[in-house]
């Protein structure tokens, strides 16, 4: 295995080549895979294997081994093959070097791929500037990052629209497709296929700076429209368009009979600015009579703001679809990216199933919609509690486990809600098993079936009820007696008539009151004998510790403590430390971490050592605080050589969630006016579903969604990923756009103009900009084939063969825009974009 020391210059391979006869001998890192020599012509061809993150390859040569190697300039290097001449006399010695991308850049990219939902243009620049350590420190203290996306109500925003087409008629219409209002300014129609400020405006008074007069004729459905100084894009006035009913043509629009000559054989470009506003749902159409040029635009603003969704979630009236949109918008936009990644991680670790909760409430008599809202509330509440807990510096695993155990979503999901252990009842084992197998210890790691049975008894009585809002944290509260309709209080069993919140409630009457002995050995009759001891493989300080747990026979409400004490006990056992450390390492580093290392034997590996270091940080945190602090464990991972090296870089495949969010983020840069080059309203759950049934908050199986590539990647799911990328990159009206989210809008031309203005009309520079953006950890020397493909795309027509230089396309024209979109989509459908 090649190891990559912390040097930019990596010795990739060395080859001894003796002129006149070929013989090969490998040296330290021999990645040279073949060599061919033609003694007669004196020509040599040398092939080598790609090296990760190579910015550049160099072939070095020396005539004699005693002399220093010098960079060859005589031969030709084409990707991974060098062709050149041999020295006329004597023998030649060759060596191949790879110049690695800077180490901090590599680590920085891994950070944005794992600690964040993929790099955005701005984040890439920022992490390169501040360095990986500053980014880690910041993300590990999310409470210090100012985050206001849930608090800031979306503001109105001026947006520009351009559309090109033929001059089908000299009549221009402006109308809405329903009731609503907007402001319109700087309306221009010019000859040509792209906007050009120097060309004359064919529209009279398109700036709306002078009275509408007779140039603009206003129909009755738009009669409230007038010039207004309240909102302007430029100048002193704009046209305030107020519509009482949908328009469609001359008699239902604000229209102008253009005095200029407009002919159907010529191309024209229409452009204007309009004010998008949060409360508006109508669409604005500006078009020529006929179908020569038409633009239809949504007047809504703020669809990409989580704030209105958060407001509904906080008051408990949101649907699952709104929770998912909010969750996705946070993943895309939040500055607390690590917290977002971890929020999903804990949600998935302590997995619950929205539809099971909904069906439970449906069966209690709620209508389906209300049942869905209650179930959504249960998901949101636990999620917010984890989020709040993670904002506390010393947050421990136990804190998070307790939130999960007390969550009505979990109580329903794993069936403790109706489990009884009193009398002859046999307790439901579902939660007990998964508490051991999936939430704490890991499968068959320190527990057995007897322990499951004992724990299932401890958990009897762990139920829920509908309690008054001041009682949500009181597990002994009785049912709320606040009635929706006080006239029907007689029917007290009808929960649908009760106001309150479904919360964890302990029902001691259902509890198994016997002795429980957990984590004991057993005799052949199943009777507990001696306490179980931590196996030797854990080594110090854990090995041979007694980790048994006993409960005396007891009755009454105090038996609630049995379960709390048990999770206190389990949360910091070495089994839990091991299992959670492995899961976090798999999340952040790569999948090759195992449960069951022998930490005491000589056979070790960097992976085993990292797990061990995490466990020690869990057990003995450097800050002296409580055991199990999540940040202490993460620090160990983020500072490890494994995480910072090639061993982690691009060694995982994105889950559907990561892929969808990563696609948007990759092209999402902030413009000076505060808008972004890529936008989504978060309504992308359908895409996650198609890519392998990743239903957020609604996993059927209690093991959560997998992190491994083989669980997600198949021909069918790849087809969906590729369709998503292509559709996301389509302009608004293109057939198939819906696959990428109807409102997903990505503007690669604006991104290029913003970040690399010198590349706007240069195919090679434009491709290089996007290669760096989309594959920042790959190394440009490895991207030759992608680069050639992408440049070919830009410089050929839609048929892929006819030459059509990108430099000849006019920025702003439809052809330019489509060409660039197609190229970026093609790059994002490649194998390497699946990785993180």
């Amino acid at each position: 295995m090649n190891t990559f020391p912390n040097l930019h210059l990596v010795r990739l391979g060395a080859l001894l080549l003796a002129c006149g006869f070929a013989s090969i001998r490998g040296f330290a890192a021999p990645l040279v895979s073949s060599v061919q020599v033609e003694p007669l012509s004196g020509k040599a061809t040398l092939s080598f294997e790609p090296s990760p993150a190579a910015m550049e390859y160099r072939v070095l040569r020396t005539p004699r081994l005693g002399l220093p190697f010098q960079t060859d300039t005589s031969g030709v290097l084409d990707q991974f093959t060098w062709t050149g001449g041999l020295p006329a006399a004597d023998s030649g010695f060759f060596e191949v070097e790879a110049i690695d991308i800077p180490r901090d850049s590599l680590t920085g990219t891994t950070l944005l791929q794992r600690v964040a939902y993929g790099p955005s243009p701005d984040d890439l620049e920022r992490v390169r500037l501040i360095g990986p350590d500053a980014y880690i420190s910041e993300q590990l203290a999310p409470e210090t990052i100012l985050e206001s996306i849930d608090a800031s109500a979306p503001a109105p925003v001026w947006r520009k629209v351009t559309a090109s087409g033929t001059g089908s008629s000299p009549k221009l219409y402006i109308y809405l497709d329903g009731a609503g209002e907007t402001y319109l300014d700087d309306l221009r129609l010019i000859e040509g296929s792209a906007e050009d400020a120097s060309k004359p405006n064919l529209i009279v008074n398109g700036t709306f700076e002078t009275a509408l007069g007779t140039n603009w004729i206003v129909s009755t459905n738009l009669i409230g429209s007038a010039l207004s100084p309240d909102q302007v894009h430029q100048g002193a006035l704009a046209l305030h368009v107020v519509s009482s009913a949908a328009g469609s043509s001359e008699t239902t629009s604000i229209h102008q009979n253009l005095p200029a000559t407009v002919v159907a054989t010529k191309t024209y470009t229409l452009s204007f600015w309009y004010l998008a506003q949060p409360a508006q749902s109508a669409r604005l159409t500006v078009r020529l009579s006929g179908s020569g040029i038409t633009s239809t635009t949504s007047l809504a603003a703020g669809a990409d703001s989580p704030q209105p969704l958060f407001a509904k979630l906080a008051e408990g009236s949101a649907t699952m679809s709104e929770l998912r949109r909010w969750h996705l918008l946070h993943a895309v936009q939040s500055k607390r990216q690590l917290t977002e990644v971890l929020r999903q991680f804990w949600e998935n670790h302590f997995v619950t199933q929205y539809s099971k909760t909904r069906d439970y409430f449906d069966n209690l008599g709620y209508d389906t919609v209300t049942a869905g809202i209650i179930a959504t509330q249960a998901e949101f509440r636990e999620n917010q509690k984890w989020n709040d807990a993670m904002l506390r510096p010393n947050c421990t695993f136990l804190d998070l486990l307790r939130i999960s155990a007390e969550s009505p979503a979990m109580i329903i999901y794993l069936d403790t809600v109706g489990s009884k252990g009193n009398g002859g009842n046999i307790a439901n084992e579902n939660y007990a098993r998964e508490l051991c197998e999936l939430f704490c210890f890991g499968v068959d790691n320190g527990y057995d079936q007897q322990d499951i049975v004992q724990i299932s008894r401890i958990w009897t009585g762990w139920s829920m009820d509908l309690v008054a809002s001041n009682n949500v944290a009181n597990p002994f509260a009785t049912r709320s007696t606040n009635y929706l309709d006080p006239s029907v209080v007689t029917n007290k069993t009808a929960v649908t008539n009760v106001l309150g919140t479904w919360s964890f409630v302990y029902k001691s009457g259902n509890h198994n009151t016997g002795i429980k002995k957990v984590f004991f050995n057993h005799d052949t009759n199943g009777a507990a004998t001696t306490p179980k001891l931590v196996p030797d493989r854990f080594g110090a300080p854990w090995a041979k510790r007694d980790y048994s747990f006993s409960v005396a026979a007891a009755t009454g409400t105090n038996t609630i403590q049995e379960a709390y004490k048990l999770i206190d006990h389990m949360a910091n056992q070495p089994f839990t430390q091991e299992y959670l450390s492995v899961k976090l390492c798999r999340l952040f580093v790569h999948e090759g971490f195992q449960i069951g290392y022998d930490f005491t034997d000589a056979d070790t590996s960097p992976e085993e050592e990292l797990v061990h270091a995490c466990m020690l940080a869990w057990e003995n945190p450097s800050n002296g605080g409580p055991k199990g602090q999540i940040r202490e464990v993460l620090k160990v991972i983020f500072n490890s050589e494994l995480f910072r090296s090639h061993q982690a870089s691009q060694q995982k495949v994105r889950t559907p969630l990561e892929f969808v969010v990563g696609t948007i983020r990759a092209l999402r840069a902030a413009r000076p006016d505060g808008s972004y080059t890529a936008n989504t309203d978060g309504d992308l759950a359908f895409a996650l579903s198609r890519m392998g049934l990743m239903l957020l908050f609604d996993r059927a199986e209690p093991n959560g969604y997998p992190e491994t590539a083989d669980a997600w990647i198949s021909a069918g799911t790849l087809a969906e990923r590729l369709r998503f990328v292509q559709a996301a990159l389509m302009p608004a009206s293109m057939t198939g756009k819906g696959d990428g989210g109807a409102t997903t809008s990505i503007d690669p031309a604006a991104l290029l103009q913003l970040k690399a203005p010198s590349a706007v009309r240069d195919s090679a520079l434009a491709v290089d900009y996007f290669l760096d953006l989309l594959f920042p950890a790959e190394g440009r020397a490895n991207l030759g084939a992608y680069r050639a493909m992408a440049i070919h795309w830009l410089d050929t027509a839609d048929d892929g063969t006819t030459a059509s230089p990108f430099s000849a396309l006019v920025p702003g024209s439809t052809d330019y825009d489509t060409r660039l979109r197609g190229m970026v989509a093609a790059l994002m459908t490649t194998q390497r974009f699946q990785e993180q």
Partner: protein, 536 residues
């Protein structure tokens, strides 16, 4: 720790070898080279057709005791199974010998009007009434119901146990490829044919996963094509060419890159095949060849209300053959059946989720019954489809098998549910299955019931409170058959593996300590098993 991948293997070799050795080094797995000349998996038989396999994975652990019901066991009673008991019918006693009971509903009665265990005619066992459409398959002699199936040192974790069923290696999580994947590798066709094994579902199941060849998984064949910007014919061709160029690019090895390469290739090579099959709703025209259930010929793949049993006539939900929530499953089943019938694929499979009935499992009706209705009708539909619409695969070329990771507790819990336990039941159907056979007098010459009472029970089902239902860990149904024996028998005697291939497909198959081929004791937990059931 070193990860031996293709590149480091190459580089290590190059440090040892000479130039000549390097030039000939090609990445063909040894196992594939070896397989080319061996066995008949995927090879046409004398009739010119190949043998195929269809699997249905019941994920979540199906309660085998309420699938093939031991009606003759006194411990199978209302004390142990208070709310979920399947009662025996005093009018059609399970003690009767002969054919399986098939209570046809006719045009007016509800499809699932009969709520007792359906006597299987072996004097002991019955089918859950939701499985009534298995009766015609059983009576045709094409169905084997195999009870008490498990494996040594049974894991009660869903995920471990599903892994073991799929990787064919109990208690071994280090085997990361699937046993049907290995069977495809052994066929020598895995990297020659674009399609060898196919699953229709949300993800490629472990049973078909492996690192040296891609098996195919589709979630929705009606959407299996790509888009482009611009989304025109020319634009799509340009995007395809760009993708092909990008796929040919070489990169340094990383953990998932071989997987991505293989699956991208699989995508490219299968798009066209699927494009030529009609998976649309309009193409779902497959109907029964007889008046189903004494009513009218029903659609085989219920994907809408009007294609669901006898509903179309009177718009009566009681005439459904499957719950309306099953339409997605029958879309998948139809697609998988079409692929097996119309392409080179040797194996096809689907999953049905939701069997983890910890609470409110239900009895003759309820959540498990709703799932069993899917299973019964699925097998009925497959039988009819491969009989009436056979193209590349006929019913006699096919075996359909159900898999489920373990059974459930013999005693119901306080939630009207059952918890994780041990042995469960398998259903195996196909034109070549040795199922029920009547003698000349209408009696039973051969039964299709394995390991659940009757004369053909090599290790008899002990009844009562210390009987079979409580003999594993004093709590659970004890196995007497290893799932590997069932699958091994099918892979060798149906698909055509040689014994040495089978040993590679199911490691340890010939090991006497495993007793997979013949009756004996499995030494891992000292349990007696019957070896291979005489299925085929």
């Amino acid at each position: 720790m070193n990860i031996i991948n293709r590149r480091s293997f190459l580089t290590q070799t190059s440090t040892l070898g000479m130039g000549a050795a390097l030039a000939s080094l090609v990445d063909i797995p040894l196992v594939m080279k070896r397989a080319l000349a061996e066995g008949t998996i995927g090879q046409p038989g004398p009739n010119g057709r190949v043998k195929k396999l269809f699997f249905i994975f019941l994920r979540g652990a199906n309660d085998g005791l309420n699938t093939v019901v031991p009606l003759g066991d006194t411990a199978y009673n209302a004390t142990n199974r208070k709310s979920i008991l399947i009662e025996s019918d005093p009018g059609n006693p399970f003690t009767a010998k002969g054919r399986a009971l098939f209570p046809e509903s006719g045009p007016t009665k509800a499809t699932f009007d009969y709520n007792y265990g359906l006597s299987l005619g072996n004097g002991f066992a019955g089918l859950h009434p939701a499985l009534k459409f298995l009766s015609p398959i059983y009576n045709a002699g094409d169905l084997a119901v195999i009870h008490r199936v498990g494996y040594p040192r049974q894991s009660r974790s869903h995920f471990d146990s599903q892994n073991y069923w799929e990787n064919g290696a109990p208690n071994n999580n280090q085997t990361h490829d699937g046993l049907l994947y290995r069977a495809m590798i052994e066929s020598g066709l895995a990297n020659k044919l674009p399609l060898t094994a196919v699953s229709i579902g949300s993800s490629l199941p472990l049973i078909l996963r492996g690192s040296k060849a891609a098996m195919t998984n589709l979630n929705d064949p009606t959407r299996y094509n790509l888009l482009a910007v611009p989304n025109t014919a020319a634009g799509n061709a340009k995007a395809d060419a760009a993708l092909a160029a990008a796929n040919a690019a070489r990169f340094a090895d990383k953990r998932d890159r071989e997987l991505l390469t293989l699956q991208y290739q699989n995508l490219s090579s299968t798009l066209d095949i699927f494009a030529h099959l009609d998976f649309s709703e309009a193409g779902n025209t497959f109907v029964d060849d007889v008046s189903t259930d004494g009513d009218q010929p029903y659609y085989l793949f219920p994907t809408t209300n009007d294609k669901n049993g006898g509903y179309s006539r009177a718009k009566d939900a009681a005439k459904y053959v499957v719950p309306t929530s099953a339409y997605g499953h029958f879309q998948n089943l139809k697609s998988a059946a079409m692929v097996l019938n119309k392409t080179s694929a040797l194996v096809a499979g689907v999953s049905i989720d939701g069997w983890d009935t910890h609470s409110k499992q239900g009895g003759a009706t309820g959540s498990q019954a709703n799932l069993l209705r899917r299973v019964g009708w699925s097998m009925y539909a497959l039988q009819k489809y491969f009989k009436k619409y056979a193209d590349q695969c006929r019913w006699e070329d096919l075996v359909v098998v159900t898999l489920s990771e373990f059974g459930r507790t013999s005693i119901e819990n306080s939630d009207g549910g059952t918890d994780h336990a041990e042995a469960s039941a398998m259903l195996v159907a196909g034109g070549g299955i040795k199922g029920f056979q009547a003698d000349v007098l209408g009696g039973v010459k051969r039964t299709g019931v394995f390991n659940c009472g009757g004369d053909a029970d090599p290790i008899p089902w002990q009844v009562g409170p210390t009987g079979a239902m409580f003999q594993a860990q004093s709590r659970y149904l004890k196995r007497n058959t290893d799932y590997r024996s069932v699958l091994g028998k099918l892979i060798r005697d149906h698909l055509g593996a040689t014994p040495s291939q089978l040993e590679r497909i199911i490691p340890g198959y010939a090991n006497p300590k495993e007793s997979l081929a013949t009756r004996g004791i499995q030494t891992a937990d000292k349990t007696e098993v019957i070896g291979e059931p005489d299925l085929i």
